[in-house]
């Protein structure tokens, strides 16, 4: 009897529990949001929130030092300025570069900026973002700058490109509609408009200039405007320019109402470039060059030449010319390997063409009568009485390699090392070298010298070039800027003397001597020469020769380096290598598979791509350029996905000139 009673009670208790669980609290019990993540609603409301956001995107738009190698010093490889052990086969051998089957168009950064602007602008306008308003404005300005730089990358890569200023929904039809390629001049105008917003909002030199500055945005503006203005100018009449003959955009329904007055457009961009450049150049003096070309003593590793040190110091904020830079810190493991690779050779090297382009201090080209050129038997010879930039940044036999040990000079270049530490051409660049003995205490990746992102010299150069294209003459400002650059380079400021002494036939190895396959006039050439010499090894060269259309003539172009076969070859370093050193075989120049230098019979100058004379060496006969290569091919799959019919042939994202609309196919021309 008791038993039954008990059971009833138990049962009703259990039943009650079940009922409670069932009807009262189930959905509440299942309401389990994440506990340590924040949703969009609570973010981007304060100055600190805004500060964090742009930094995620810096790396994707601003090149800087990193990893093994000479950092941004590598960015001129594969041009007539610089060479690395492995040639760029895609660019310089025909039929190698293929239309990719798929690939990302790279809208991540653009979407990131659009998201920020969508979220922040309404709150910002309503004054709902807490914090210092100047800083808040600055961060909004940074986003405009980042979006501009992201679009500039796309402009350089593809030309015409879809302009997207909102975050798009994940709906196919919307995306297809959004994938309409805007003509490139409109893309460039959009970039300038973003940069104008940025310039308006950014402050000048807060944050030690490691964040974007107003000056950086101005320099960027002059860069983009010059890029587009000169591109339209030199590529005019090709399918690469909107409205030009064969321009693929012409057949697009969505371009029905597109009109362009090409010369007006060119002038617009050049005017913009000049104005922005002038604003920076007028208020920014160039870093002084003391003329001293080596640290005078072991303990005087710094302070001997501000101009040299501007490229390798740990703190670049002290240089007025530097408008933006990146800082490194060993303790935080944010480091690179540049100093070490400059010290020992970093799989790159200046070409003879670049070295030859530097003037004598007296303003004459090396070949001009009375130039005082000393020949190039030794690297020290070739530097003698030259433009100080050559003297500073080309490592000669007797230049100081490091002050960590006494009498540690560069000596002969490491031309037969393994590629990683090889002086590919024999001409080593010492731009970015930092003589501070505390730099790189470990080996490899312990370097912390700062990395320049923008510097004011570019504005000087942008102005001069834009001015000459626009006005066909050197105006007062351009004259002032040019002379300032030449003064700092220790070169006679009378550029007319140089122009008069320039023999274009002697400058044929310089791609900048050409546009559209024809030689340019000597004045323009010398403007380009100035730019080449000042900005060597800073990643400008490829973009310059593209916008100048300076590779039409590149056919069987042979890259040459230093003078090996007059004297250097006989040096002990090559004939009697230290035991056990890598490929310590001495020089082999027989063209066989074991060869490590080019044969004397080809040239007394080292030809890094003519070492092995086998059919497997695709560039033995030199670089060959294809017209299509001025723009990159659109990935095939992306064309399909952006097509209303699914067919690449009818895609909104049409293919670039001279590229076929099929995957894995080579350029047509």
């Amino acid at each position: 009897m008791k038993l039954v009673k008990l059971n009833k009670k138990l049962l009703s208790a259990a039943g009650l529990l079940a009922v409670l669980i069932t009807f009262n609290s189930c959905n509440e019990f299942l309401d389990r949001p994440p506990l340590s993540q924040v949703g969009p609603g609570v973010f981007l409301n304060s100055e600190a929130d805004l500060a964090s956001y742009p930094l995620s995107y810096y790396g994707s738009v601003f090149p800087s030092h990193g990893g093994w190698g000479v950092g941004i010093g590598n960015n001129d490889n594969g041009t007539d300025n610089q060479a690395t052990a492995n040639p760029n086969l895609n660019l310089y051998t025909k039929g190698t570069w293929l239309v990719p089957n798929d690939g990302d168009l790279g809208f991540g950064t653009i979407r990131g900026c659009n998201y920020f602007l969508e979220q922040v602008l309404p709150k910002w306008k309503d004054g709902k973002i807490s914090g210092n308003s100047q800083n808040i404005n600055h961060y909004v300005g940074e986003i405009y700058m980042i979006r501009a730089m992201a679009y500039f990358e796309k402009l350089k890569t593809y030309g015409d490109f879809p302009i997207v200023k909102t975050t798009l929904p994940d709906q196919g039809d919307v995306l297809i509609a959004a994938a309409k390629r805007a003509p490139r001049n409109l893309v460039a105008r959009q970039i300038l408009s973003d940069l104008d917003s940025a310039i308006l909002l950014l402050s000048s030199s807060s944050f030690n200039k490691v964040r974007i500055t107003k000056e950086a945005a101005l320099i960027a503006k002059s860069r983009v405007a010059l890029y587009e203005g000169s591109f339209l100018n030199y590529h005019k009449g090709t399918p690469r320019v909107p409205g030009g003959p064969g321009w693929p955009g012409a057949s697009m329904e969505y371009n029905k109402y597109f009109k362009i007055e090409i010369d007006t457009e060119i002038n617009f961009f050049l005017d913009q470039a000049m104005a922005a450049a002038k604003e920076v150049a007028d208020k920014t003096a160039l870093t002084a060059n003391s003329g001293v070309t080596n640290p005078p003593a072991r303990d005087k590793f710094s302070g001997w030449n501000q101009y040299f040190e501007m490229f390798g110091s740990k703190d670049l904020s002290k240089f007025a010319e530097v408008a933006m830079w990146r800082q490194y810190n060993l303790g935080l493991s944010v480091t690179h390997g540049v100093t070490i690779y400059v010290e020992r050779g970093g799989n790159t090297g200046y070409t003879k063409s670049l070295v030859d382009s530097y003037l004598m201090k007296n303003g004459l080209p090396w070949y001009a009568a009375g130039s005082g050129y000393q020949g190039d038997v030794k690297i020290m010879d070739v530097k003698k009485d030259r433009d100080l930039r050559l003297q500073l940044f080309l490592a000669g036999e007797e230049d100081v390699r490091t002050v960590k040990k006494d009498a540690d000079l560069f000596g002969r270049p490491s031309i037969i090392n393994i590629p990683e530490t090889r002086d590919v051409t024999g001409y080593r660049s010492r731009k970015y070298l930092n003589y501070d003995p505390t730099e790189a205490p470990g080996s490899d990746l312990t370097c912390v010298s700062g990395s320049i992102v923008f510097r004011a010299s570019e504005a000087y150069l942008n102005y001069i070039e834009a001015c000459y294209i626009r006005k066909k003459s050197i105006d007062g400002d351009a004259d002032k800027y040019w002379k300032a650059l030449r003064t700092r380079a220790g070169v006679d400021t009378d550029y007319t003397k140089t122009i008069a002494a320039t023999d274009m036939d002697k400058e044929k190895s310089d791609w900048g001597a050409y546009s559209a396959g024809n030689m340019v006039d000597a004045t323009l050439y010398n403007i380009r020469r100035e730019r080449r010499n000042e900005l060597a090894s800073e990643g400008f060269r490829f973009n310059d020769v593209v916008r100048w259309r300076a590779m039409d003539q590149v056919s069987n172009y042979i890259v040459e380096g230093f003078n090996l076969w007059d004297e250097a070859y006989n040096d002990k370093v090559y004939t009697d290598p230290k035991p056990g050193e890598v490929t310590s075989t001495g020089l082999i120049a027989d063209g066989s598979s074991k060869a490590n230098v080019s044969n004397k019979s080809l040239s007394k100058y080292l030809r890094p791509y003519q070492i092995v004379n086998l059919s497997t060496n695709l560039v033995f006969n030199g670089y060959n350029w294809s017209k299509a290569n001025y723009l990159s091919p659109m990935p095939y799959r992306q064309m399909q996905l952006a097509s209303p019919t699914g067919d690449a042939a009818t895609s909104n994202l049409y293919q670039n000139p001279y590229w076929p609309s099929e995957p894995n196919a080579a350029a047509i021309e």
Binding site: L30, P34, G39, S56, F207, V334, S443, T446, Q638
Partner: protein, 1072 residues
Amino acid sequence: MSMNKQKILIHWRSILTILMCAITLSGYAQTKTVTGTVVDKQNEPLIGVTVKVQGTTNGTVSNFNGVYTLNNVPQNANLELSYVGMKTQTINVSGQSVVNVTMDEDTEMLEEVVVVGYGTQKKVNVTGAVSTVSSKELESRPVQNVSQALQGIVPGLNLSQTNSGGALNSSMSVNIRGTGSIGDGSAASPLILIDGVEGNMNALNPNDIESISVLKDAASSSIYGARASFGVILITTKSGKTGKTRVSYGGNLRYSNAVQIPEMLDSYRFAQYFNQAAINDGQGAVFSDKALQNILDYQAYQNGTYTGTLTDENRNQIMYGTTADSNNRWLMYGGANASTNWFKEMYSDWAPAQEHNVNVSGGTDKVTFLVSGNLLDQKGLIRHGEDKFNRYSLNGKMSIKMAPWATLDYNNRWIRETYSRPAYMTGLFFHNIARRWPTNPVYDPNGHYMEGNEILQMEGGGLDKNEKDYLNQQLKLSLEPLSDWFVRLEGSYNTTINFNHWDKLPIYGYDAKNQPFAAPWEGGDAGQSAVGESTYKYNFWSVNLYTDYSKSINDHNFKVLAGTNIELMKTRTLGGSKKDLITPLIPTINTATNSTPSLSGGYDQWSTVGFFGRLNYNYKEKYLLEANLRHDGSSRFINDKMWGTFPSFSAGWNIANEDFFKNLNTPISTLKLRASWGQLGNMNTTQWHPWFLSMPISTGSGTWLVGNVKPNTSSAPGIVSSLMTWETIQSSNIGLDWNALNGRFTGSFELFNRRTLNMIGQAIELSSILGTSVPKLNNADMESKGWELELNWRDRISDLSYGVKFVLSDDRQQILRFPNPTKALSNWYEGQVVGEIWGYTTAGIAKSNEEMINHLATNKPSWGSNWAAGDVMYKDLNDDQKVNSGKSTLDDHGDLSVIGNSNPRFKYGFTLDVAYKGFDFRAFLQGVAKRDYMLGGPYFWGASGGMWQSAAFTQHWDFFRPEGDPLGANLDAYYPRPQFSQSSKNQQTQTRYLQNAAYMRLKNIQLGYTLPASIVKYAAMQSARIYVSADNLLTVSQITGIFDPELLGGDWGQGKLYPLSRTVSFGVNLNF
């Protein structure tokens, strides 16, 4: 409540009193004392047999020698003898005072009851697809965890190695009946329940397991609902049993070495191979003639055949294989000339391990208990540094019969796993082994380890130590208010606490002047030290409340069950790291001095609620029916997607119970045909909150320094979909079970079809103009089809008893629906068979330039250049004279075709056990009968992806060399001519290099001997067995000798992972 308690207590007392009376009081009828010996068929005495007078509580238990003595036995009483695993016998005393008994094994009973969802069921009445494993099959295996022991034993239960390979903390991946998901946003892993609560099977001591049931179809697993959609593994641990207290000990010593590691080329051939690869790329040779000579000199010196002189200049080179450079550093790579096989250097030959198990159990009618403990102490295969795993476990189980109608069970399990490895031993380490050239010496001429070969990091570069505690508390209350009506309330609280310590200590190399210098640890961090501590805690709370009632009316048998299941998981994490230790001897956060530590910590949670019901019906155990319904809610989904309802049905027909069949007089006692159909929801989305749009925010870790500190960074969130919901798993199963020849021949066959409907597929492919990834949706269907066969034969030929078990299973998956309208081959597409390999067809390797030119004329690949002798000739299949992938779609795939399938097919296991007069022998083979695999990367190809990423093993020496090659022509080579940077040209997926990854492995072989009882009794033991057991002794496979057929992956590329172990173990099992 206190009233109830009191009543229970009162009840307790009365029961105790009755019991005492029964035991102590003697009867006063005509009684006598009966004695006797109980033995089994082998005439071995049986210890602990319960002997009682039928219908009374007068009983006893047989002693060590199987002898029992029972007082007060009435003259004509029936004695009832019962013993686990034996048929209960009743014997009439008939006035005798000595009654000896031989007991028969009850094979039927052993196998008859199967653990199923929320209960047990007679095996003959099971209508779903359920396989079982007994503890016997797991015994004496020198394995580290349960999954290793389970591999190949259960048909349809697939266990495969992961990218962690044989690392001591690695566990296998498990699926039932093949993959159930493309793994893109959801997981399809089985639910693993230990005594009814989700747990980690690999943390469990295999010796604590009593039985394992694998529920394979929806009908049998659906009762578990949302997380059981891809099957359930039910593990029941051992419990105490009424009777004398039993103590057992099992221990073994093991030695392991690597089953399979590649063999590097000696440095002379290595150098020539690398030279060839560089030359074929149009570069200069890597090793000069002089460097080659140095290598030969070193090798000659090592062999004692060096005839040159030793000078100060060349001594180091010839004796030690290196020389100093101008900075007084010892040279490596091209500057060195030793001959080191780095794999041999990094792995040790015989890594020791030991395991001990103690188990104490026993009990009375009222209380049974079991306490078991386990210690496993295992060293890893890594030679340098501490690579070590320990497991300690302590397990207590108690069952208290509070009243005839109330039982309380309390289980407590504690497991601690400690694992330590060199902090450097990550994927990078395995990546680097083959990148160290054999020319690098191990030691410098002064006897120090050379810097730059990982040994310094492994030996002294710090440790990664992990300590994980599992604490499981379980309380079960079972009530039987009326006969056959049970109410059960089960509550469990599991906590997992993990502490990780990681330190990076400075390492020092020595220069040529024998001076130490700080060496980089992973590049750019020479001399640095750091320490990291992190912890996580999982709290898992689960409640089951259910009730069942059985009723038989005439021959109609019913059973109903209804209940609810509630689970809540809460996790938290905390971690921090700091740089710059005061001393490497004390690596703690307190003793690190850097002012900017890195910190992290967070919380997360999920929960689920389910209601379930089951109805079983059978008529005379002939016609069987079962129906299940489960209604589940999950915190992973929101709004109307939160709840789902999933039904299942199964039916069986035991033909052997039909009169007509019985009249046939066949030797078949069970012949059951069954079928099932059911649906289940899967809530195992990869993300716990797939609907939540989270801001990507990272604190203090930006690498664009601002103010010389790492800034906070944030970025745009992606896109999420609130539409994500349950995947529906719909499975049907047809099975046949039989038992013939008095249990000698048993087996079953299953045929299944499982569809994963509304699978979380990839997002639809959209233009990348979107700028972020497209959110995933339930938009795909997949099907898994297959069958399973299990055959058992068990018999005895006089003293020799033996058994054979063979299991075989197969499954294939196909994509039925997928958002890929163009059917691009780069993605899943409708109709695709999972695992299919698209590749080119190889015509061969061109033996001459002419042959290549002729071939190219009509078979020109769209990639590559400089085709020459020694390159692969690809075949044009679509007669357009070109070789390409067309549009890389199913409709236009150019010259690609399906050349194989990487899914393992026809997985089998074969077990033979033999026992003869105390000796026992067991052999277990496991394998996969069909599998294709395309290997890639430097391990397979040798030269691949540049000089610093390439490798050179003995197999790679078989590369193409033309007529007249100084290394000797090799026109019929397996590999094409090597190239560093243009290597991908010849390394396309293609028929020639497709590997046959089928294998058969002798997973275990063991030989044991049980000492005669007559001997062991002197040591106060009831039984003693000694054995030797070996795992992974033998492998048969056609795959390239570089790879283990079970280890085809690797985090840093194929083959770059911890090898599996071959283990030999010596052990004893003692029972006291």
